[in-house]
Symmetry: D2
Subunit: 252 residues, 4 copies
Amino acid sequence: MTNTQITLIQIDNYGPWTVTPEPRREVDLQTLQSRLYADLSQLFGNREGYVFFTRFDNMIAVTNGLDADDHALIQESVSNRYPVTISLGVETDANPTRALGTATEHLQEAGSAQDAARTEVLRGDPLAEADRTDEDVQIAHFDVNDATGKYTDQLNEYDSFIQIEQGYASLMKHMREEHDGLSFFVGGDNIIAVCPAMDGDAYQSAIDHVREDVGVELKVGVGRARTAQAAGMDAKHALETCRHEETTVEFR
Amino acid sequence: MTNTQITLIQIDNYGPWTVTPEPRREVDLQTLQSRLYADLSQLFGNREGYVFFTRFDNMIAVTNGLDADDHALIQESVSNRYPVTISLGVETDANPTRALGTATEHLQEAGSAQDAARTEVLRGDPLAEADRTDEDVQIAHFDVNDATGKYTDQLNEYDSFIQIEQGYASLMKHMREEHDGLSFFVGGDNIIAVCPAMDGDAYQSAIDHVREDVGVELKVGVGRARTAQAAGMDAKHALETCRHEETTVEFR
Amino acid sequence: MTNTQITLIQIDNYGPWTVTPEPRREVDLQTLQSRLYADLSQLFGNREGYVFFTRFDNMIAVTNGLDADDHALIQESVSNRYPVTISLGVETDANPTRALGTATEHLQEAGSAQDAARTEVLRGDPLAEADRTDEDVQIAHFDVNDATGKYTDQLNEYDSFIQIEQGYASLMKHMREEHDGLSFFVGGDNIIAVCPAMDGDAYQSAIDHVREDVGVELKVGVGRARTAQAAGMDAKHALETCRHEETTVEFR
Amino acid sequence: MTNTQITLIQIDNYGPWTVTPEPRREVDLQTLQSRLYADLSQLFGNREGYVFFTRFDNMIAVTNGLDADDHALIQESVSNRYPVTISLGVETDANPTRALGTATEHLQEAGSAQDAARTEVLRGDPLAEADRTDEDVQIAHFDVNDATGKYTDQLNEYDSFIQIEQGYASLMKHMREEHDGLSFFVGGDNIIAVCPAMDGDAYQSAIDHVREDVGVELKVGVGRARTAQAAGMDAKHALETCRHEETTVEFR
Ligand SMILES: Nc1nc2c(ncn2[C@@H]2O[C@H](COP(=O)(O)OP(=O)(O)OP(=O)(O)O)[C@@H](O)[C@H]2O)c(=O)[nH]1
Ligand SMILES: Nc1nc2c(ncn2[C@@H]2O[C@H](COP(=O)(O)OP(=O)(O)OP(=O)(O)O)[C@@H](O)[C@H]2O)c(=O)[nH]1
Ligand SMILES: Nc1nc2c(ncn2[C@@H]2O[C@H](COP(=O)(O)OP(=O)(O)OP(=O)(O)O)[C@@H](O)[C@H]2O)c(=O)[nH]1
Ligand SMILES: Nc1nc2c(ncn2[C@@H]2O[C@H](COP(=O)(O)OP(=O)(O)OP(=O)(O)O)[C@@H](O)[C@H]2O)c(=O)[nH]1
Ligand SMILES: [Ca+2]
Ligand SMILES: [Ca+2]
Ligand SMILES: [Ca+2]
Ligand SMILES: [Ca+2]
């Protein structure tokens, strides 16, 4: 069984800030958002977590191994370096969607995302060290077969992008609806999914579904470990096995 | 009529680099990609351009006003600061998709995206200063109505994200198929589209299409100008007018 | 004759901010300061200017070619991305120290560096385009001879650093007192000086002074141009000539 | 007694890289150096260490609590994100200068700083967990009295800078020669020193020395702890006590 600790990261009252006193230059907003994401990747990543950019104003992280103090320090470090602050909701569950659901409720109960008085909330119970196991996190790293040969080197870049996006849209819904897994596009032709305990057949049928639904061919490497970082690195090595063995689903 | 100059930015031989000598840590790749995007936003943005992250290994920019030297300097600045290099294809057309198509071909003709010998390509003809007009770029800034009240404060964050993604997937296909416009998710509930000359009815029917297709309600502000930066800022002000007047489509 | 436009960049009310509500973590302050400097290097550098980190809370830039709008945009871009704001004083003079003196007075007259009500000041008259010439900026790039062989590969790193610092302290005072030039350590064994019109003998005697004063041996390349960027690049090429010809002072 | 673990960070073969194939633009070098420093501040700082920029191509860190794996991961993270690589030498001693001396020798014995074949060296023995104590690190945070009133608001910024630099030059030599302490300018009017076990009288006489030598008036807060981060934060709180009590030397 998995036991995934999920943290919801929400920029406080960000919408109003972007247009006060008048609309801020989009290039600066893009710079702010992507650097905040890069910094959070490092702040969580240096503690073995993974962060996904999602909508940038709301990001989702897998944070097994990070306690309340780690979260507080990350929150403080952001407020020391950015013109915006962040709120954090934390929760753990065998089911990643349920974990995120409760993490989200922690923030919603504290007030609206656009409530100027609701800032730097930190709520939820990180998983106690004693309750952690080496199979708490299951990460699946999906990748499109020969994206370079089939898309990048053939189509105009926007049409390549549409193909990848359609594969992603199909996979994200399948994983959410069938397994309560959370799938994130991470650039290129790569999708990383935070999964409950799923077996090889389940992954194969996800891949079959995407091929039948939108014609995009995927392979997947899967890792299980105590932290997102370790599970994710195992998933990458498993994906390399898919490449070398020409297989579709590999665990490691 | 519009005359949009599009630049395709492609990281050279990036796929192989990510797994050589073995898979690199995902947090570092995410940091690299998002910082490169942030830097390109500033490098193009300081010259009045807009960059969209698209797939991160391939990014699309609107670059009216940037000549070949500007492109070369950006290319050099990246190679001075990153472990990877970029190739650039540039082209101008009344039809944004056609401009991107030719820009993409410039790179494809120089070799594969995963050809280790094809690096730092810079091809294509930037628009001559004498041929530029104050209506060359049309930017539409779409935004979801009350995303905070309907999604962010109600659903778990992943389900909010799915709603936004579905709105985006529907709009991106409609704009590409009906108008050859290029639409990009820019975070939160915002989509910025690079459009050919389109009138108010065309925008209204795009919004109607998305509402009927996936139930997501949009508004849009549209700007036209000599550069992406100026058109985009006009679009943002027009969007504020939508907010204050409770209208759906505004030009400025 | 030179005509150097100098901009003083001052973080507003920074001292109190660093200890409110209690002392902020030093690593975050260091990150904030060095990234702000990196961003300003790019923001001014993309417009052909040079910035020097000086004390980090006060930085000095050579900004020939940047007008009031450019300065305002940089100021806005910082406030869009940082928890602090900056004030800017601008002035031009044949004598770099006098230019900086007046630029500094512009801010001092607006209030104290630690006056919470004095924020985002922008004062001074950038040089009119019509008054600019190709010899406005003279940049000298000094470098220690064989720093690697004599220091880095021989001494403990702190003692190497003391040698370089002593060379710098000696040069900075000589240039300030004898020529009203402004010299900045830029890392490694390099010092970049913003100079009035000085000839080869003046540079040779500066180098002689440092050797006699503290035993550190320098060479220097000098460039003159319309902007800091062009003059600085000429200076670097001249320094390469020193290396190849084994000379001590080269102009280009 | 203190037991300070020092890490020397050296960019590999950096001098030649800066001029190959021809001199690189200074603004890009400045950006590269200051961002690398910012990243190292975070990478070491997230593990309770402190980094000082020193010469930027050679930086000095206090790394009690970081083992060989932590060092290797930081080295890898830099190579994943920068066009340059770093070598690391690590050593511990009651005497900070001696620790740095041995750390430096580890790299010197592996080859020259400008040997293209000597890259990513990692040598030295981090302190075993069992040998660590709560008094291993002594950090002194020095600050100039009323720098704003006496310098920043009065003099031109370069002359303010010269005052601060002279105070720093005087302190750095005194601490190195009398106590084998390592003092680093960290911006503004602040100097952080990594010290052996020193008592209040020793700090008072350092402050007296600087006042008599160059007329700059300092105060100092001192902290002792298991890590640089904890000792440094204690030092900052002690400095606040100096401010409130109008004292010159405070321990905490
Ligand atoms: N985020 C992330 N992106 C990656 C990674 N590996 C590859 N990519 C991206 O995927 C793109 C395509 O690379 P590949 O998947 O190696 O190439 P391909 O043509 O699809 O070939 P095969 O997958 O081997 O069939 C690259 O340009 C990267 O953007 C990774 O580990 N993480
Ligand atoms: N990139 C970008 N994102 C923005 C901008 N303005 C708002 N956003 C994002 O959009 C999110 C929602 O903010 P709003 O659109 O103001 O809020 P809303 O609840 O949808 O309200 P209305 O749009 O006014 O109906 C914010 O959290 C931001 O992420 C912008 O100018 N650029
Ligand atoms: N900021 C900056 N630093 C540089 C530049 N070139 C070299 N450096 C720095 O100077 C250090 C020493 O490099 P060099 O000056 O090439 O080496 P050297 O041993 O002194 O040899 P020579 O100067 O050729 O006698 C490098 O590690 C860099 O930190 C430059 O263009 N700009
Ligand atoms: N690196 C760093 N710099 C600081 C810190 N606190 C203040 N500074 C710098 O020091 C400068 C001067 O601030 P203060 O020392 O508070 O002001 P002051 O006028 O000298 O007043 P007193 O020190 O209270 O006598 C600021 O602009 C900052 O650059 C700190 O904790 N770390
Ligand atoms: Ca692939
Ligand atoms: Ca909205
Ligand atoms: Ca040298
Ligand atoms: Ca002070």
